[in-house]
Symmetry: C2
Subunit: 364 residues, 2 copies
């Protein structure tokens, strides 16, 4: 268009000045891809001669602000984390930040690698739903923070870890749901998704707390179930708690087992969607009718639950709000430059959605 360089030289101008191809110039200036040392020096010298402006990355190095957050979650295929990610990215975008998401498949080694990637990519803050069961397994999170990167936990607190967390009140939500079943007259209530123990323990105390391998959320939900039994003075029966792999298949097998007990449950509390669909498969195979011979309450509402026949009563988690709050807490820490005082546990409320899957016990 013009024979002179415009006020703002482009990569093509640098390429022409250096006598290299445009993509070679772009790679060298951007710092990606391969270029020989000789070409590299030629391109950088050309860039300096014509006053090519450093790219956004170089600017972020010099200013120390890259305007990106990192989010580490266990499983992106779970719509719950999709909702949390959406809440975070909506809130971040209002502040001009982009969100980079990494998924760890509940694997602690992958979580450590993901944390290192985010440190390397110099994000301004990290939000993590950690697979660590306790502080001793969360050295990577401490490390990120001691490198100067603010960190906030989301969905899962990590007992003993001195870091702010934004969670829902899992224990109260579970307690309320089970209380609904008790109010409808149920005394034998199955709990689907228990700890991943290889063998069913005999004693209640071996089901809860450390050593069961339970995530914090799962442990809280089980504790809420036990709270409700205690509130109502109901007997605890370890046979009514699922143990083993947290899969749809194992939920189906465990509910099938419960249905064969001398005194089978008349109601089930399912703490995950896969626990619910596995339970529904077992109930169908046994000819048990939801809302008639079996009452059901699930956790984490889905548009499918509302169109089931009968529609399922569910606990709704505020996924977008959970993400938005985590972003808010993180930005407050970023703005303050450091987090002062004791770590805070921010707890959001859930909502119980009563539909038609709970009825009085009917043990025909």
């Amino acid at each position: 268009m013009t024979s002179e360089h415009s006020a703002r030289p482009t990569i093509s101008d640098v390429a022409a000045e250096a006598g290299v191809g445009r993509s070679t110039a772009a790679r060298t200036l951007g710092g990606y891809g391969y270029a020989s040392e000789e070409v590299r020096e030629r391109v950088l010298a050309a860039a300096e001669r014509i006053g090519y402006r450093a790219n956004a990355l170089a600017r972020s190095v010099s200013t120390g602000v890259s305007h990106t957050l990192g989010l580490i979650v266990a499983d992106l295929a779970n719509p719950f984390f999709g909702g949390v990610a959406r809440g975070i990215s909506d809130a971040s975008r209002e502040r001009g930040f982009d969100t980079l998401v990494l998924s760890t498949h509940e694997d602690l080694a992958e979580e450590v690698a993901a944390t290192n990637v985010l440190i390397d990519k110099r994000v301004d803050g990290i939000i993590v739903a950690s697979a660590a069961l306790e502080a001793g397994a969360a050295g990577h999170i401490e490390q990120a923070r001691s490198s100067g990167i603010p960190v906030v936990l989301v969905d899962r607190a990590v007992p003993g870890l001195d870091i702010d967390a934004v969670v829902i009140d899992n224990r109260a939500a579970a307690r309320d749901a089970v209380a609904h079943l008790v109010a409808a007259g149920h005394r034998r209530i199955g709990f689907v998704w228990g700890p991943p123990l290889a063998e069913r323990p005999r004693r209640r105390r071996d089901l809860v707390g450390v050593g069961t391998g339970n995530q914090w959320t799962d442990g809280e939900r089980l504790q809420g179930y036990l709270d409700a039994l205690d509130d109502e003075g109901l007997a605890f029966d370890v046979e009514l708690v699922m143990v083993g792999a947290k899969t749809e298949e194992n939920a189906q097998a465990e509910v099938a087992r419960m249905l064969e007990l001398p005194e089978p449950p008349t109601a089930l509390f399912c703490t995950e969607n896969d626990a619910m669909t596995g339970s529904l498969r077992a109930l169908r195979n046994a000819g048990s009718r939801v809302g008639e011979t079996m009452s059901l309450i699930g956790f984490d509402d889905s548009s499918w639950a509302a169109v089931m026949e009968p529609p399922l009563s569910m606990i709704e988690q505020p996924t977008l709000a959970l993400g938005a709050k985590a972003a808010e807490v993180l930005f407050a820490t970023i703005d303050a430059g450091s987090r002062g005082g004791a770590p805070e546990l921010h707890t959001l409320e859930t909502r119980f959605i009563a539909r038609a899957s709970v009825a009085p016990p009917n043990v025909n």
Copy 2:
């Protein structure tokens, strides 16, 4: 532990040498957070004096390999994209690459911003499910590639864009599904999720192709529906195609409208899960019974579909394989240094899962 520096000086050693706090040294060396110019120089000089090794980021700048891929998708809360992301990250991890995911909410401006973030973060390649309807809107994708970053499209081809794409055969899948309904005796088949047009066009040709605002996948599925009608010599009726917002609420409203037609449909083909749940709401309100007075086939199988009463016949998408193939094509391009020849469209097959939601027409 020792009064001499070990063979490999740490950030703490640099901090002590520079007379600053450990986190200040970490921030300066890592390039994140704030530090005054004076402190910065002091830390960098100290690092040089004691031979502190540059961090992984600096190494990746000098070697040009950061070992990260970027993935840009429309909506992380959609389990379909969660599955694709999982397929990509599993395949990348085998190669020692991490995957950074960004979600754009079907907004082209957000997609452009996400692409710039990935260029700035110097990923080694980008996989994108683009919101661009045609090549003219995909300048940012061309730009990434001309900066030397290989790009592969996933799930959605972009007509006219000269880039490899990995997709499913949406048109054949839709054609097969509708052929199933025709084989069961249906002649009036509703199509739920049509183009987002404000008004229902009168002519078939205004429903398909450019100017309808349809994503490539949606357009292909509609075309497959039309193919099946043509194959069977059935009349096309524009009243049987949903138009307007692609939401569960609008699907419900459009199916309610179809049920009021003088000749209502006896079967529905739902091309998304929200289209299915919206349809199910309308059918329930109208007292229409799935698998009896209304036959149904959906797209994108879910564990919920199998536990519905009756279980729903669905098209299953190979989400993990789609992601794995996209990663494979991207790595082939990265390994080759550049992509030669014409762009390829890699097409994966879907699977039709027959359950109990299709029966002969029964218009009582």
